[in-house]
Symmetry: none
Subunit: 210 residues, 4 copies
DNA sequence: TATGAATGAGTATTCATTCAT
DNA sequence: AATGAATGAATACTCATTCAT
């Protein structure tokens, strides 16, 4: 009934094929012909669904972005700074960056050289950064995290999460033999974040100088 | 007298030109012709000094690597975990990643899709990671940093440093308007690292659960 | 109906165009762009059908080789040493080397400097040489051709045929004005071969010393 | 005293180096830089002695040509058609084509595609062909070699000599393992030529039909 | 004369994109 | 909607040749 039921399937097949090829060959090395072949389609049909190669990546990023948005509700909806809540958020990140590993690869490969991609990446990061900054400020209201610049620290911590999740999921950089297990990964990231945010620190202590 | 004095100058001019073009256009977009023109040379001379584009990048990485090595002496020679020592190390990183910003860009753009580049990048990271892991283990001997997996945490912290220095120096991603000032950058990175390594923590306290 | 009917036509057009350009300009001077233009196609399509220039030549040689194989049945199938049989074989050679003149040109131009081409050429020659050697040995069993080393003589005679057919067909070397007429060419080659093989010699005479 | 004593030595060194490189890599693959290096000279000096690459080859051919001329005195001075005389002439060819193997390689590789080279090659061949034709005509005056077209047969026989000497000296085509020994080579070529010219045939017999 | 760094025209090759079927 | 052959602009790379020293 729905017109385009089949069309939508083809589009999805191309998107999925692109992710497979990108993960295997890298973004720059991914040729349209390879993607089409991986999808079991002809080259030509690619252009029925996407204007050009950048448009394909934009489509991939859209889903990625949407999932990140779903994962990170706006500040008012933030959960408490309990260990369970933070762990759960980290687990969400970890899972999301696994799912969207090809997209992250594309972001790293092209983001800094392509203004359009950069803009999307920036927006995606801002969401996560805002949340970190929010947490830091809330801690500071409680007398903790003194000496931390909320914006800068949030950028650094989010960078750590983003890059490290990507790194460990890629299985190519720091731990090529045997990818990092989910639990150990989340544990480690939690321990660092918890220290940085002083989640368990003394109510009104003076953790760092200054 | 020295034969090749002029040749070496040309080689250096090409390397320097490449860095400028890469920083401006990105690595993938950097054409040999652009690099040659930027150096005020003809296309052909490029191939007098480099086998191909990858060889040029390998040459760039060599200097970067050498500087990082100089920056991170082997563990036995490590300084104490005093604030001054750690700050100084971070300042070194910050400066080095500014100097080698084009190289980092190339690493991000091509490292995950080119095995040869990846191998160099891995080696460069390993030095920094080993140092972090060493510090964490030393803290653990002192009863601190319980619950931190030295290898994983080191990978994550080094990733934060590397990515964040690059990010802030690029002036394109998180803080496009007005780059991050040196002091604020180093301060922020120090505050996070100090917390993660519990540099100021209680001698034998139990900072985190577990 | 047949998928690829059009594709095969294009491939053939390129092969035929290549032969024309090679015959006109020589193999080394034949540019891909010229071949494509001669075929009325774009440069790019060349690479749809051939990996590179050597691959094109390999494809040309394949047909040449196949025709030579068809022309020279294996020893058991050899005809008698009658004048008619030998003349017919020579006529076959003469015609084949006319048809595949561009291929011979490529063989001479590149064969000695390109191991892959050399290998094909060697195989093609071996067939003809084996046949000559077979004939010589058969004559020796009849008491003729004493003093002829079958292998060496066969190599020399085949060389004469191959080089001379090429030479006369080329119309550039020995008889530039007015190519050699078919009948005169075949007559001359027959007279020489007949003498060398002593096709008409005395049954058990002693034609040469030794 | 002689101006250019040293200069002449350099020129000779370049010529000799060119022959070595051509024999090793083939003519088309021989780069000026390789030749200069082989001669222990700089690239630039090449152009002090030769206008361009073709000029170098022309110089090589000059010596080759001169030697061939010395080897084949004009018809009036011909030796008799005794076995010893013909064998000696063949031995001269065999030795000359060994000495000038690089030149022959260049002739085959470029002669058919370069009019200037072709012209030289043609002249060189004509001398040998004229001698063969002269011998054939003399035999015909004696009632032998009936049915042989002197010009065509001479072209074919000379082609056999030229190509076969080259072939066997190259050690790459027909007998790659173990080059052909001098004596066997000359013997074989003599046996064929002797039959073709009917050097030992009956005074007024009818060797072949026609 | 000799050097070797520099030049740049010439060519092969790639691959995103188009379009007739 | 789908096909896949065809297009051609873009770009890496080669190497004979020049020229300042």
């Amino acid at each position: 009934m729905t017109p385009g039921r089949k069309a939508e399937a083809t589009r999805q097949a191309l998107l999925e094929a692109a992710r497979i090829v990108i993960a295997r060959d890298g973004f720059a090395n991914a040729r349209i012909a390879d993607i089409a072949r991986q999808a079991g389609k002809s080259v030509g049909v690619f252009y029925t669904y996407f204007d050009d190669k950048p448009a394909l990546f934009a489509a991939l990023l859209e889903t990625f972005h949407a999932d990140l948005v779903a994962l990170t509700p706006p500040p008012p909806a933030y959960e408490e700074d309990t260990e369970a809540a933070v762990r759960s958020a980290l687990a969400g990140f970890w899972a999301t960056y696994r799912r969207y590993h090809p997209e992250m690869l594309g972001l790293l490969e092209t983001g800094l050289a392509d203004p359009d991609v950069l803009e999307v990446w920036r927006k995606m990061r801002q969401r996560g950064i805002r949340r970190f900054a929010f947490r830091i400020r809330r801690q500071q209201e409680r007398g903790r995290c003194r000496g931390l610049d909320p914006e800068l620290a949030a950028s650094a911590l989010h960078g750590m999460l983003e890059f490290t999740c990507f790194n460990w999921h890629s299985g190519r950089l720091d731990f090529p033999q045997g990818k990092v297990a989910d639990e150990r990964a989340i544990d480690t990231l939690y321990e660092i974040v918890a220290r940085a945010l002083e989640l368990d620190g003394p109510a009104d202590g003076v953790p760092t100088g200054a």
